[in-house]
């Protein structure tokens, strides 16, 4: 029953590929950013999953000796989440400016306008 133990990782790679597919396949600039977010979230899950220690509690001070999960991946991912939020904000800001400049957020329509120009 090894695969149940790797359940998290299956979810991670399903999300990772879903997000990646959305980024590559969609022509809508907003949807691309949504896909990028799913892709990044899967990596957060990957890190959080590896920090888990069997029977471990939250990494806080408790009386007596307790087994606790590895807190370092949590901290790393906190940083990565901040980066991801900044990227999303910048990406969406760019989409707003693109919409103002081209009047559309569809990749193929933007390309048509470029070819006409």
């Amino acid at each position: 029953m090894d695969w149940i133990g790797q359940y998290n990782y299956y979810v991670v790679f399903f999300l990772m590929m879903t997000g990646f597919y959305v980024v590559v396949a969609h022509g809508n600039l907003v949807k691309k950013i949504v896909g990028l977010n799913i892709f990044q979230t899967s990596v957060f899950l990957l890190y959080i999953s590896m920090g888990k220690v069997k029977d471990g509690t939250a990494p806080i001070l408790l009386e007596g000796e307790a087994i606790y999960s590895n807190p370092l991946p949590h901290v790393l991912i906190l940083t990565a989440i901040v980066v991801s939020v900044a990227t999303t904000a910048l990406g969406l800001a760019l989409v707003v400016r693109i919409k103002e400049a081209y009047g559309t957020v569809e990749e193929d329509e933007i390309r048509e306008q470029e070819e006409d120009a």
Partner: protein, 497 residues
């Protein structure tokens, strides 16, 4: 006090300067502050290179947390060498920027521009100096986010789509890198590069390690614009403000390449990379394709900036060929070209920026006959172009010479032919610009222009002069590159730092 904190100051100084620039607001003070900081960074880099010149290694433990727990900043000769080139370009570009963006950007955007430049500089210098794999990711994203915003400042609306495209591809690259680091952490429980390199040797044959290697190299390859992952590059360089193109073309891809060299040689070790993973089987054909396609496409471009963006793609190919040759001479050539190409492309893009300053256009037809009105600017362009082609006496010759030596050493004659053919194609595209500018006629309805101001010419000619100085006085760069390359290959598979 200051002397021992130099490695930290290199990142902290621009990080602190960035918000200050925003607070100072419009006017020349922002420019003065940014210039001052960039000069201070150059001085620090020179001081660091001086301290490690005989092979010593400086360590700086942030907050006194001992490595491998804390974040460790490491300055060895390779790092100091790349720090020097990045801060040199920063120090030359920053004074140039004041005059150049005054015409290209709205006044309210000018403090934002300097803020972003300093953030980008902080990120790039940090990537070079950090000894912590996760810290590298954070700094990579700091520099990248600043870069996306800088590109979107370009006047054309296509700058926006270029920035967006780069944002998507850059984020995918950085996330790939993050996945790779996650897998490495899973295997080894450490993020410190020196510590990683020790523990990785015990894991030979692990498929997770192979996956981690693949994710990290592909992620960094996206950032350094290795063919065919370069799609973001031509538009990004083509539509960004002139100063930004010069700064990015000279530094951003080089720093990503440095990170790749660090991972290939210091962390994973050359033996793992080339005998277990057979990276050269993929790296070399792609690098060769990059050189050929980049050069040929460059020859057909109408925009001079886009032309040199594609030419950058070819130059990155040369550096990757150097790595793919798997020898000390090959790596020496890659490192030399990393340094030299920054000087060449910096000078060329600054000259193009000076043309754009007067003409408001950098497409080929607009340049027709311009050499009579702007002789000094075109002179700088020609000098930079000669260096790009690789005429003896310039830096371009030095790195190509070593690349050919390395290829001959391996007996790989097709590579030798390739380098020569690609240089001849460079003659074609540089020649097209020169022909138009020197032998073309100014259009009758063209507004007469005068020579670019000294504020733009002096930094440009300064970089041109370094092209010739390091092309003739090769001791400094070649000695460092040879020693560093020998050190990197010598430590492969072993104790790392």
């Amino acid at each position: 006090m200051i002397a021992e904190n130099l490695p930290a100051l290199l990142v902290v100084l621009p990080l602190l300067g960035a918000p200050l620039c925003l607070l100072l607001g419009r006017g020349r003070w922002t420019w003065a502050l940014a210039t001052l900081i960039s000069w201070a960074l150059l001085a620090i880099s020179i001081a660091l290179l001086w301290q490690v010149r005989d092979g010593a290694e400086l360590h700086y433990a942030f907050g006194d947390w001992e490595p491998p727990w804390g974040i460790d900043y490491v300055v060895d000769r390779l790092a100091a060498y790349v720090l020097l080139i990045v801060s040199l370009i920063g120090a030359v570009v920053m004074p140039y920027a004041g005059r150049s963006i005054a015409t290209e950007l709205a006044p309210r955007l000018q403090p934002v521009f300097f803020t972003l430049m300093l953030l980008c500089l902080a990120g790039l210098l940090g990537i070079v100096i950090t000894g912590d794999a996760f810290n590298l990711f954070v700094l990579l994203e700091i520099s990248s986010l600043a870069t996306y915003a800088l590109i979107s400042l370009g006047g054309d609306r296509r700058a926006l789509t270029a920035a967006y495209q780069y944002l998507i591809m850059g984020t995918i690259g950085a996330t790939f890198y993050l996945i790779g680091i996650g897998l490495l952490y899973m295997l080894t429980g450490t993020l410190n590069m020196a510590d990683l390199s020790v523990r990785i040797t015990e894991l030979a044959g692990s498929s997770t390690l192979h996956t981690a290697f693949a994710f990290i190299t592909v992620g960094l390859a996206l950032k350094l614009a290795m063919f065919p992952l370069h799609l973001w590059l031509p538009n990004a360089y083509g539509f960004a403000p002139s100063v930004v193109s010069a700064f990015l073309a000279a530094t951003a891809t080089k720093v990503a390449l440095y990170a790749m060299i660090r991972f290939i040689y210091s962390v994973f070790g050359a033996e793992f990379t080339f005998t277990e993973m057979h990276t050269q089987v993929l790296l070399l054909p792609l690098a060769v394709a990059g050189v050929l396609i980049g050069s040929v496409v460059a020859a057909f471009q109408h925009g001079v900036k886009r032309m040199h963006a594609y030419s950058s793609l070819a130059q990155i190919g040369y550096m990757l060929i150097g790595i793919g040759l798997m020898s000390v001479t090959g790596l020496t050539a890659a490192l030399l070209h990393l340094f030299n190409h920054a000087l060449i492309k910096g000078a060329l893009f600054l000259a193009i920026g000076a043309l754009f300053y007067r003409l408001r256009d950098s497409r080929l037809p607009a340049l027709s006959g311009i050499a009579r009105q702007m002789p000094w600017t075109m002179g700088a362009f020609v000098a930079g172009g000669l260096s790009l082609i690789g005429v003896p006496g310039t830096v371009g010759f030095v790195s190509k010479w070593y690349l050919i030596l390395a290829a001959v050493e391996n007996g790989w004659w097709p590579v030798v032919v390739l380098v020569i053919v690609a240089s001849l194609i460079a003659v074609v595209y540089i020649g097209r610009v020169i022909e138009t500018a020197y032998f073309g006629q100014r259009p009758k309805d063209a507004v007469p222009v005068t020579e670019a101001p000294l504020a733009l010419l002096i930094p440009t000619w300064l970089l041109v002069a370094t092209n010739f100085y390091f092309g003739i006085e090769t001791d400094l760069t070649v000695d460092i590159a040879v020693d560093v390359a020998a050190g990197l290959i010598g430590t492969s598979g072993g104790g790392g730092s």
